[in-house]
């Protein structure tokens, strides 16, 4: 009986997942908190909170593996893997037939093509700016003074769509402010924003080649507006895990398990 932990320190949020491996793999607990400026500290706090909840100690963990942008400078493990491999691994766990993953996080978005065994065949990431990421949506939410959680509902209620032409987050913000000043309907603007993110995602997916089943991970997958827009552009159904945000951390936990298995194999 073994416990493994995956820690995904992203630019916006830190996610921790604890799994238990016996005959089968079980997700024991997970936690999400804003990363802020001290990713390592937040990650340690989440690790301790989870361990306290399930009455375990750090020594009970076989291995912790870190992923995400903050993976490099952590004091609790040397084992790391990129979020590319981890999201693929996490998505494969819930959707065994997955072949294409679109992950939209706070700072970057990525399309990942995986083979039948879940191996990463190819990936593409967003350019050097925040266009088409969670940060873009956050800025738009601020400009519209509308909660991000409402973007899905308002998208559905929109009668038309206002196209957002600028992909630069800063310029798009001023475009949105101008559209509001012109008296455009907020719901129509939100639909346009969701489509703008979906179009960026689609262009990444095209780079790696689209093959079903398609799974969306990352915090933006919680916005049904973006999911609907992307499904409309793809003309294909997208599968969403119950907790899309923790897929990277789950993948990291699964890699921790594999790492230990390889190590034990070597030791034996």
């Amino acid at each position: 009986m073994k416990y493994f932990m995956g820690v995904d320190i992203g630019s916006v949020s830190t996610k921790v997942v604890l799994i238990h491996v016996n005959e089968e793999i079980k997700i024991v607990a997970s936690k999400v908190a804003p990363t802020g400026v001290r990713g390592n500290e937040v990650a340690n706090k989440l690790i301790d909170e989870i361990l306290m909840e399930v009455n375990l100690k750090r020594e009970d963990l076989s291995l912790i593996l870190a992923t995400g942008y903050g993976r490099i400078n952590v004091d609790f493990t040397d084992a790391t893997k990129t979020e590319i491999s981890c999201h693929a691994k996490g998505a494969k766990y819930f959707f065994p037939n997955v072949h294409t993953i679109i992950d939209i996080g706070g700072q970057d978005s990525k399309a990942i093509r995986v083979g039948d065994m879940g191996e990463v065949l190819d990936f593409a990431m967003n350019d050097k700016c925040a266009a088409g990421t969670g940060r873009f949506l956050e800025v738009m939410s601020h400009a519209l003074q509308e909660k991000l959680d409402n973007f899905g509902v308002l998208h559905k209620e929109a009668k038309n769509m206002v196209e957002i032409t600028s992909i630069c987050t800063v310029f798009a913000e001023s475009e949105v402010v101008s559209l509001l000043a012109e008296g455009k309907d907020k719901k129509d603007i939100i639909k346009g924003i969701n489509y703008s993110v979906a179009k960026r995602a689609l262009s990444l997916m095209k780079r790696v080649g689209i093959k079903e089943e398609i799974v969306m991970t990352g915090g933006v997958a919680k916005n049904p507006g973006v999911v609907m827009a992307l499904e409309d552009l793809l003309k294909l159904k997208i599968s969403i895990p119950e907790h899309p945000q923790i897929m990277g951390a789950l993948g990291a936990a699964l890699f921790a398990k594999e790492t230990m298995e390889v190590k034990s194999g070597r030791d034996n």
Binding site: T82, I84, V120, L121, F123, K128
Partner: protein
């Protein structure tokens, strides 16, 4: 020991060559401090010679872009300044940021290649001497003709263009040969050198010698990695600028000998993943390659190190030089680059390809995704990295590391 080169002032080079005793002193200090290997020692001597020839009194200063056959200049005892190489060196010295800042009132669009923006900035800051003569090819790099024109406007100098057609056939070969000949004759007249054609044959002999050593070095590299490939991205400066000079011969001989010796001593680097590198790489100080090496990934061969031109027929100097200009495969169309890459991947047994995109480079970045697709279709894992050769503000290190690390996980 590291030198803080970022504090170098524009008149530094002029001061070095102004007094006869300073020049050898600086050279001696550099060798003492940097403790260069035999390869770097030749580069230091070559660089000092370039300074002496260009910053001294009554120097004939020629600026030329990296696609010009430098043999025509060395034939006339001219050590050309290649501003693109100067731009890369300034990035390594840590002075490209000020040069990119200085240029903003001349070149408004940041969309232009940073190497060329930086070199115009270097000129404006006074780092480069006033040229008497500028000669530039209009292919394959699209930016050079504009930046060189700006330099001539800013500093003066006779501005000359070698028109290089896209196609390579008998007509274009003779056309380019004639253009090179015209420029050579004009320059010979200007500097008043006698026996210029014999001198050109001599320079071409040197060039053939240097070529022979580079071919041998590349051949030896197939036996294993004993010198990091990123150093070869730096040696590209010598490939662009030293052919036709005696320093070119010395440099590539030293390179060949060093590789041979290290192979003999079996000083192999701990290579786990072999990377074929396309285009050039970042020239400013970055830990990217150290980080890359720590992951066991090493560049085994670079697109720019390939000897793509035939040995010169010194009895047909201009036709030979024109052939070299027209047959540049590394900086060419997608089909030629693809063939070159496949050859390099097979010969050096590369596990994957990194295609480096230089910001604003239409020639390189324009076809990189098509190139990547073609490589992937052949089963070669490939990644395009959008970065910058000289502008570190346009080089998001952590994002690039994530992409490269993800790529290494793919090829593992």
């Amino acid at each position: 020991m590291n030198l803080d080169t970022s504090k170098i002032k524009p008149d530094f080079f002029k001061k070095i060559v102004s007094k006869p005793y300073i020049y050898p002193l600086i050279r001696g200090i550099l060798i003492q401090i940097l403790k260069p290997d035999r390869i770097a020692k030749v580069s230091i001597n070559f660089s000092m010679e370039i300074l002496k020839k260009n910053f001294g009194k009554n120097s004939t200063v020629v600026m030329s872009n990296v696609f010009m056959p430098t043999e025509i200049f060395y034939a006339l005892d001219i050590y050309p300044i290649l501003p693109e190489v100067a731009s890369a060196v300034s990035a390594n010295f840590g002075i490209s940021s000020p040069s990119l800042y200085e240029v903003e009132d001349i070149v408004y669009s940041k969309d232009l290649c940073s190497v060329h923006r930086s070199l115009v900035g270097l000129v404006k800051m006074g780092f480069l001497p006033r040229p008497n003569f500028l000669v530039v090819t209009n292919q394959p790099c699209h930016s050079a003709i504009h930046s060189f024109f700006l330099i001539s406007k800013e500093l003066g100098g006779d501005f000359n263009v070698i028109d290089v057609p896209y196609r390579y056939d008998n007509f274009t070969l003779e056309y380019v040969a004639e253009s090179i000949k015209n420029v050579f004759e004009k320059l010979s007249k200007s500097v008043g050198k006698r026996n210029s054609f014999n001198r050109l044959r001599n320079a071409m002999f040197y060039s053939n010698e240097a070529r022979k050593y580079l071919v041998e070095a590349n051949e030896l590299r197939k036996e294993g990695v004993v010198i990091e490939g990123r150093k070869f991205l730096g040696y590209a400066g010598m490939i662009f600028s030293a052919f036709g000079s005696r320093y070119g011969v010395k440099f590539f001989k030293a390179l060949r000998d060093e590789i041979k010796e290290r192979l003999k001593k079996r000083e192999f680097l701990p290579v786990k993943k072999k990377i074929y590198w396309m285009h050039l790489g970042p020239y400013f100080k970055t830990d990217l390659f150290n980080w890359f090496n720590k992951k066991g990934a090493y560049i085994v061969f670079e697109e720019t190190s390939k000897v793509y031109w035939d040995e010169f027929d010194i009895n047909e100097p201009f036709l030979s030089l024109a052939k070299k200009v027209l047959s540049s495969t590394a900086f060419s169309n997608v089909d030629d680059r693809f063939s070159l890459a496949m050859e390099g991947i097979n010969e050096y047994k590369a596990d994957g390809v990194v295609i480096f995109n230089q910001w604003g480079c239409r020639q390189g970045a324009g076809n990189s995704y098509v190139l990547r697709k073609k490589l992937i279709e052949k089963g070669i894992p490939s990644i395009v990295i959008d970065g910058d050769l000289v502008d570190e503000t346009n080089f998001p290190k952590e994002q690039i590391k994530t992409r490269l690390e993800g790529f290494l996980e793919v090829i593992s």
